[in-house]
Amino acid sequence: MTALDSPPLRTDRPRSGFGSALGRVPTSLWVAYGLTLACLILLGVSTSDGFNPDRLLRILSNAAPLGVVAIAQTIVIINRGLDLSVGPVMNSAAILTAVLSAAPGASLATTVPLVVLMGAAIGLVNGVLLAFTRIPPLLGTLATATIIGGVNALVTRGQPRGIVPDELRVLADGRLFGTPFSASLVIWIVLLVIVGLILTGTVAGRRFKAVGANPRASWLSGVPVRRHTLVAYTASGTLAAMAGILLIAYSGSPSLTAGDSYALNSVVAAVIGGAALAGGTGGMVGTFAGVAALAFLTTVLNSFNIPSPVQFIVNGGVLIGMLLINGRLSARRGAR
């Protein structure tokens, strides 16, 4: 029984139906999927068997590490944060995975949980740092990124060691039970769906978005604000560690630097997908498009034999163009 059981004073039901539902899809999603489609078409027409689904799936599968770390970044961005430490965490995860796998009697069943746990622990440290002080996330995580990078170099003395077991490599290169899907693609999509469902379909997830949109208002409505920040960064560290594992599954060797570029690229993917750095907006549907667009775009640039300086320019230009269109379209709605 609620207070609103008495007959309503006025009923003006808003328009409903498919058309208006479509009209309410955030403009950023249109832009993100538009760009993805454009890249896809470009990719398709530029090469002989461009639309070969097997190839497209492969491109997506190769993007799984970015995909997973983009989930992490999106979660943090929704919380009004930013996590620049995901890159070094991916490196740490890769290094640790290789070391643990070299230990006698090692198996993935023990290695993977340990590595993921380490990621969670680093994330928790970030979370504590940012939830309990006024350090801005950009700088706090930049600092932890520097420290983690230093620790990685210190413990390996520049020489990551260990082995990457074949069972792990199969995740990236193999096909799952004869389907055209690789395990890493499936892992990425499953994580995407799980996080997406939590964010949109649970009390905790919806409140998580509220905290990002307005922490004060959420706090006054009884939402534990700090706890959500802790959860955000812990989740980010955890997912970054998983991304690190997927990365060495793909590359086959641990490295001190391979993850570094993922920090900013994941932000870019999330933002293309409609996450706003001001917090509260963004989601898995958009982030998927952001990652896919980036993956297709890189593939196009690579297959056209475009020199890397020009690739820099094109990448930057596309990003600016995207953000511009996005900004223009949403500005039309006006801000109050």
Binding site: L4, S6, D12, R13, T202, W219, G334
Partner: protein, 495 residues
């Protein structure tokens, strides 16, 4: 005086599908004071923003006469405050007066002091704006706007958090300006104020101009009728439904015993009875808000006890308060209430979710139904439930914020701090009705308001505060404004 101060011809403005202002035509001579009235979302602020140049009209033209020597064409007090909270009063005035050349600190303070003195208010020019009360901030905003003797002065709900003496100061200043030839547009949802100050009236409904002419020719009820498009009903719900014995002996939902809060409250004793509306009256800044915040768990008292349903509790944060069935509507909706870019549903569901969906899973269908109930019941003017709440007009946003608690089954105490700020007459009646219905369910309501008529009209029992203390407790049905003001200014109880 030949050329009108403002000529506004066939002005229209749309936001996407929303036609906020449709074909408005108005001329205002120098020295005239125009009342602009209309329901929430009628398009008043949009029109004002176009007059001030913040928004540009889609069609139509706006002409404003040249300002006098050294003056400005338009100055505006916005509905939402536009002050830099981290800066001092003097800095804010210095930044806002258009003359932004560098001045020495002392010169800034001198100018600020004389500006404030011009309005007749006493605010420390070295105070940080963030430390001022909402009322003081609103006065500061007004002082900033009138300091420049503009051709056109726009006041968009400048009195929504002022109390009578402050309103009088404002009116005196506006009359002085109008005598000097400034044309004024005044927006308010308080009818009495309009009749006191204005010469003419423009009524808007759904973006259109529905009535325009001298105010003296119209009655309050006529205005309300043309605003809402139907006959005006009683603003306050009747209290007769409740038996008298119930209110005398009802159980205390919340009780404050000897509660003090460093710097603002000293030994406050207060009882909020289940199933009735308890109000706290007083001049702004005398501790009413703090009492509300203590009950809502926003602040923890330095000493004293808080009893919830008879048991002493420590509310360390709003979360603990919410858990024990206490909800809170804070006065500053943008900062403390709204998830600006999120949908109306997200805003409506924020507080009640854990109790509405005990499993933790939110069914989209049910969520939509609940949000739909909020908007239908409170007649929130909106385009779709998925519309970002920032697109609603101020009053409609406020309705959603209150609705947020109305859908909470577990609510036992509702603390309302200035709940109808900026809400139009018609909607206010709906909100009052809903609050009354809550009490019939046994919910206890604690009401803090700057509007004394609202307190006397709505509540069952009123406490009066002065300087952080309770100076009296009256029965609202018999209390008079004079009696309350007497207590609120430090006099002792007559009852």
């Amino acid at each position: 005086m030949s050329q009108p101060a403002l000529t506004c011809q066939h002005v229209s403005k749309s936001f996407g599908a929303t036609r906020a202002v449709v074909d408005v035509d108005v001329t205002l001579n120098r020295g005239e004071i125009l009342a602009l009235v209309g329901e929430n979302g009628a398009g008043k602020s949009t029109l004002m923003n176009m007059l001030s140049g913040l928004l540009s009209p889609d069609t139509g033209s706006i002409t404003i006469a040249d300002p006098p020597e050294g003056g400005r064409a338009v100055s505006m007090v916005h509905q939402e405050l536009s002050l830099f909270a981290n800066l001092t009063v003097a800095e804010n005035l210095s930044l806002g007066d258009g003359d932004t050349t560098h001045r020495s600190e002392r010169a800034k303070r001198d100018v600020a002091r004389s500006t404030l003195a011009g309005l007749g208010v006493d605010i420390d020019v070295d105070a940080t704006v963030g430390d001022l009360t909402v009322g003081q901030r609103q006065l500061l905003e007004v002082a900033k706007a009138i300091a420049v003797t503009p051709t056109l002065l726009i006041l968009d709900e400048p009195t929504s958090s002022l109390e009578n003496p402050q309103v009088e100061l404002l009116f005196a200043a506006v009359r002085r300006l109008s005598a000097a030839g400034t044309a004024v547009v005044f927006v308010s949802h308080r009818m009495d104020e309009l009749f006191e100050l204005c010469d003419r009236v423009l009524v808007m409904r759904d973006g259109r101009q529905v009535d325009e002419g001298p105010l003296a020719d119209r009655t309050r009820d006529q205005l309300v009728a043309s605003m809402v498009g139907r006959e005006a009903s009683d603003l306050y719900p009747s209290r007769e439904a409740r038996g008298d014995e119930k209110d005398a002996a009802g159980p205390a939902a919340v009780e404050l015993v000897d509660v003090s809060l460093e710097g603002s409250l000293s030994s406050v004793d207060l009882r909020v009875t289940a199933g009735s509306i308890t109000a706290i009256a007083g001049l702004e800044g005398h501790g009413q808000s703090e009492v509300a915040e203590v009950v809502a768990g926003v602040r923890t008292p330095t000493s004293g006890t808080l009893r919830r349903a008879g048991r002493p509790v420590r509310l360390r944060s709003p979360r603990h308060a919410v858990r024990s069935g206490i909800g809170y509507v804070a006065p500053d909706r943008r900062l403390d209430g709204l998830l600006l870019d999120q949908s109306i549903s997200a805003n409506a569901l924020l507080a009640a979710m854990p109790r509405l969906f005990p499993s933790g899973i939110v069914g989209p269908r049910r969520a939509r139904q609940i949000a739909q109930r909020v908007v239908s019941h409170l007649a929130v003017k909106h385009a779709a439930l998925t519309q970002p709440i920032v697109e609603l007009s101020g009053g409609n946003q406020q309705k959603v914020l209150i609705g947020r608690w109305l859908v909470d089954d577990g609510l036992e105490v509702l603390v309302l701090n200035d709940p109808t700020r900026g809400v139009d007459v018609g909607s206010r009646a709906q909100i009052y009705q809903s609050i009354r219905e809550l009490t019939e369910r046994g919910v206890a309501v604690l009401l803090v308001s700057t509007d004394l008529q609202e307190i006397l009209g709505l509540s069952d029992e009123v406490y009066v505060m002065y300087s952080g203390r309770i100076t009296g407790r009256l029965d609202s049905r018999t209390a008079t404004e004079t009696a309350v003001m007497h207590l609120a200014t430090g006099g002792t109880a007559v009852v």
